[in-house]
């Protein structure tokens, strides 16, 4: 009888302890939703917390999925996020559908470079990232590696290429816009959508995001990738056998933006976060951890080879022209046609 009672006490105590654990992890703080790799942006958030003492709850999912989660919450008028961080096309889409964001001009907005100031007061720019052609240097020599988008179509890259799937990745829509629409109109063949029809014949792997591309390049399973520079610089610095070329025709530049959701519970903390993001400290953290090219020119940075973004041909993505549905449909059809023809 006593043993049974003891057993019951132990079981109840364990259940209560487990319940407390379950409760503790759900404490509400400044809540930030983002789609960048967690290994990139979590350290930025940690730096913010260290600088300001403001605790943050974060939710990270592939950008398209994260945006849909926000949309679901907005539909029932119960947004849980205070701040959203995503690429420009996705942020503009959210704003145009739901009038989702609160205007706020961060304190050092005037220190941003002019092309970044245009985003305020609705959005706060974090920085920029650009596309590269990354390769495994153990398997592909520097001479052999493609130096342009057009060289990607060389048949020797059959079964060697990885590129993000537009159904999961937000950033790749910028790259698709650049090659299919921008270069397609400015230059013509081999660019346009025909470029991707030809690329599909080389059996590229479509990945759920840019992290898997990093792993595929490093293992050598797909030694060549259409990749974001922010995913490869940390690997290079860690000694992994990765190198890259920035395409000769130019490369699209995507701006990562942050904004406060209307109906946010922690507006003051959210504003503090935006202020910090554009400060020297925040911009330095964005470069050091998320490898985002700074939005201020008084924050120093350089690529591992000593160059900077301005040394290359960069084309800012025109968000209004990015058609996500069209991109998904075109890539789907290109891959199917290549499989069955």
């Amino acid at each position: 009888m006593i043993r049974r009672a003891k057993g019951l006490v132990i079981v109840v105590t364990l259940l209560v302890m487990v319940s407390v654990i379950g409760t503790v992890v759900q404490a509400k703080n400044l809540t930030i939703y983002y789609g960048m790799g967690r290994d990139h942006f979590a350290p930025v958030i940690a730096a913010f917390t260290e600088a300001t003492g403001i605790q943050v709850d974060e939710f990270r999912a592939p950008t398209e999925e994260m945006i849909t989660t926000v949309e679901l919450e907005l539909r029932v008028r119960r947004p849980k996020a205070d701040v959203i961080v995503a690429a420009e096309p996705q942020m503009r889409s959210l704003q145009s559908k739901y009038d989702a964001f609160l205007e706020y001009t961060p304190k050092e907005q005037d220190k941003l470079i002019p092309s970044m100031q245009v985003y305020t007061p609705l959005y706060t720019p974090l920085g920029m990232q650009l596309y590269i052609l990354a390769y495994n240097s153990n398997l592909i020599s520097a001479d052999d590696a493609p130096k342009s988008w057009a060289e990607l179509l060389n048949p020797k890259w059959q079964n060697q290429i990885a590129i993000a799937d537009p159904k999961s990745s937000a950033s790749v829509h910028g790259a698709l816009w650049f090659v299919a629409q921008y270069l397609g109109e400015e230059v013509g063949a081999p660019y346009g959508w025909e470029f991707f029809n030809e690329l599909a014949k080389l059996n590229p792997t479509l990945t759920s995001g840019h992290g898997p591309i990093r792993d595929l390049i490093q293992t050598g399973e797909r030694p060549l990738g259409v990749q974001l520079i922010s995913s490869e610089i940390p690997q290079y610095l860690a000694g992994e056998p990765v190198r890259w070329n920035i395409p000769e025709e130019g490369t699209p530049v995507e701006t990562q933006l942050a904004a406060i959701i209307k109906g946010a519970e922690n507006v003051e903390d959210a504003q503090a976060f935006l202020d910090w993001l554009v400060s020297v400290e925040g911009q330095t953290a964005n470069w050091d951890h998320a490898v985002l090219i700074p939005a201020r020119d008084d924050v120093d940075y350089e690529f591992p080879d000593g160059t900077k973004a301005g040394d290359y041909t960069l084309v800012p993505i025109i968000a209004e022209e990015v058609d996500r549905d069209l991109n998904m449909k075109q890539i789907d059809e290109a891959m199917k046609n290549a499989r069955y023809n």
Binding site: V18, G22, D39, D57, N136, G211, D215, G220
Partner: protein
């Protein structure tokens, strides 16, 4: 007078009603709402347009084809491998029975996405270790393949170990408990062992074999992790994409109902085959002792089959997980200088795995407890009571087996953002708990039902005759007799819930990530591959420790008591 009437009132009907109500809420309400969404337009009017639009989308057609092809392939291969293994372990003197049982058990508890992580490294067509080995062995000149994990065949091969486990678990008891008199008669009449196996043993075991194959088909139909990692078109992936990438409630509902319908047909066939399998009682003292064949060289054939299964089901994949988890740099491969334990310490230092671990523990403990409590009540009503309509309870409790996790999760999102929007459930741990309990109710009910069926009712009747009340009999006779079965059910649900993915991947939100979504997040790029694999190894070790503790408490090996639903 009133008290006398109250004492005479049969509370079983009240309990039945409460259980039925709860199961209807858990199981039927999300499905019912999805049926409504799939058959109505945006204006609420009846329409078949959603089905027409969905099934004329080429990528959905491809997903359905892939799903049915892979599920059928896994079912067939699982039979071809699982039946000989079950026969060898149950009816022969083959060595290595413990190895086979351990492999089967590990296949049951291993999350499928862990296996796929390992096989992607092993069987990647360019530089996978298996391909490099095969090219060397057969002096192949190609740089691509011969094995390609990113294919339907790759999907089948990675899913087969789990399917074999289900076939084994259904057929092994059938072989062990077969009436030996028919085989003895055939032997006496001069039939050789192969003829006896073909004409007597196999036909008698056919219902069990079919039920195992149907289970393997059903589980494969509902899988999420492997197709996600291979980025292949699959029906569960299409459901997630429709909801989370397209916010298309109609397509989500339509595809979910399609999966439910296919699964329900399979489930009905499964239950029909189950009815052909005789249940057995052990506690009352009766049982069959079939003849164990004393094979000579033949037993080494079974051993070879067992070793091959063990190698592909867990030795090779887990060895790969462990080795890659020790890499300092992925690009440098397997060299002594490239090994480190820092990926483990790094994984433990990250907030997300810790949050996932805490959440998974909370969910696993509570869902196991609730499922087992529900299982005792529902199982008792089904097995012991004479309540009219108990068959409904039986069917309701087993229905979630026929609902893919992603379909269930989609239904929960639709219902808690739709008609039940006023309940603050969406985006919280509560929606995950509801999903887990619904998903694992069949495990609890079925395992406790089996335990109850093994206990003769004579013991309870004797208790009632000597004056004990219904409650006293349950407390002092029934529960002590089935306590090991109850504990086993709790552990089984805990293990499954702890590594659950297909419901969690749709329902997770801020602060509600679980272990499986944390690993998926790492695999999808948030951390390097070795860190993701290190966390996967730790998940497996934790689950194994829980099972070993359970074995210590019950005093017997869980592998001997393995049951499937």
């Amino acid at each position: 007078m009133a008290i006398t009437k109250l004492r005479k009132f049969d509370f079983t009907y009240l309990v039945w009603a409460i259980c039925a109500g709860l199961l209807i809420y858990l199981v039927l309400s999300p499905i019912g709402y999805m049926v409504y969404e799939s058959f109505t337009g945006d204006d609420g009017a009846f329409t078949l347009r959603n089905y027409y639009d969905s099934f004329s989308d080429p990528s959905i057609v491809e997903a359905i084809y892939n799903t049915l092809f892979v599920s059928a392939g896994v079912a067939v291969l699982s039979m071809l491998i699982g039946v000989p293994l079950a026969y060898g372990v149950s009816r022969t003197n083959m060595p290595g029975k413990t190895l086979v049982k351990m492999s089967i058990f590990i296949s049951m508890i291993t999350p499928s996405f862990l296996l796929s992580m390992a096989y992607i490294v092993l069987a990647g067509p360019n530089v996978g270790y298996a391909n490099r080995f095969l090219r060397l062995l057969f002096n192949l000149s190609t740089n691509y393949g011969p094995v390609n994990v990113y294919s339907l065949l790759g999907l089948i091969v990675m899913s087969v170990p789990g399917g074999v486990a289900y076939v084994f678990l259904q057929t092994s008891p059938a072989f062990e408990n077969m009436d030996p008199s028919l085989e003895e008669s055939a032997r006496t009449s001069g039939a050789n062992q192969w003829r006896i196996f073909r004409d007597i043993t196999l036909p008698l075991a056919r219902p069990a074999i079919l039920s195992g194959a149907l289970l393997a088909f059903s589980i494969t139909l509902a899988m999420y992790g492997i197709p996600h990692m291979l980025n292949m078109e699959y029906i569960t992936i299409s459901i997630r994409k429709a909801l989370l990438l397209g916010l298309d409630f109609k397509t989500t509902a339509t595809l979910s109902i399609a999966v439910v319908v296919i699964s329900m047909v399979v489930l009905m066939l499964y239950r029909m085959t189950l009815k052909s399998i005789k249940s057995y009682q052990i506690v009352s003292g009766k049982g069959f002792r079939p003849r164990v064949l004393q094979l000579k060289r033949g037993r080494y054939v079974f051993l070879a089959g067992g070793i091959v299964y063990a190698v592909f089901a867990f030795l090779l994949p887990y060895a790969t997980l462990v080795i890659v988890s020790l890499f300092k740099k992925v690009g440098d491969g397997l060299t002594w200088g490239n090994l480190t334990l820092t990926n483990y310490t790094h994984a433990l230092s990250l907030p997300m795995p810790r949050i996932g671990f805490a959440n998974s523990t909370w969910l696993a403990v509570w869902s196991s407890t609730i499922v087992v409590m529900l299982g005792i009540v529902v199982g008792y009503i089904i097995v012991r009571s004479k309540v009219r309509g108990k068959g409904i309870l039986d069917y309701l409790s087993i229905m979630p087996l026929g609902i893919a996790g992603t379909a269930l999760a989609a239904g929960l999102i639709l219902i808690y953002l739709g008609p039940l929007w006023f309940l603050p459930v969406y985006g919280t741990m509560w929606i995950l708990l509801i999903g887990y309990v619904t998903r694992f109710v069949p495990l609890g009910v079925r395992n406790i039902q089996t335990s109850l069926m093994q206990v003769s009712s004579e013991l309870e009747e004797a208790s009632r005759i000597t004056g004990a009340t219904w409650g006293q009999t349950i407390r002092r006779i029934t529960i002590p007799l089935i306590k090991n079965g109850v504990l086993y059910a709790w552990v089984l649900v805990f293990v499954r819930a702890f590594s659950e993915l297909s419901v969690s991947v749709l329902l997770r939100n801020v602060g509600t990530d679980v272990v499986a979504t944390a690993i998926l997040d790492m695999w999808d790029g948030s951390e390097r591959m070795p860190v993701a694999m290190a966390f996967g190894v730790m998940l497996f070790l934790f689950v194994t420790i829980v099972i070993l503790i359970a074995q210590k408490i019950t005093g017997r090996s869980i592998m001997d008591k393995v049951e499937s639903t």
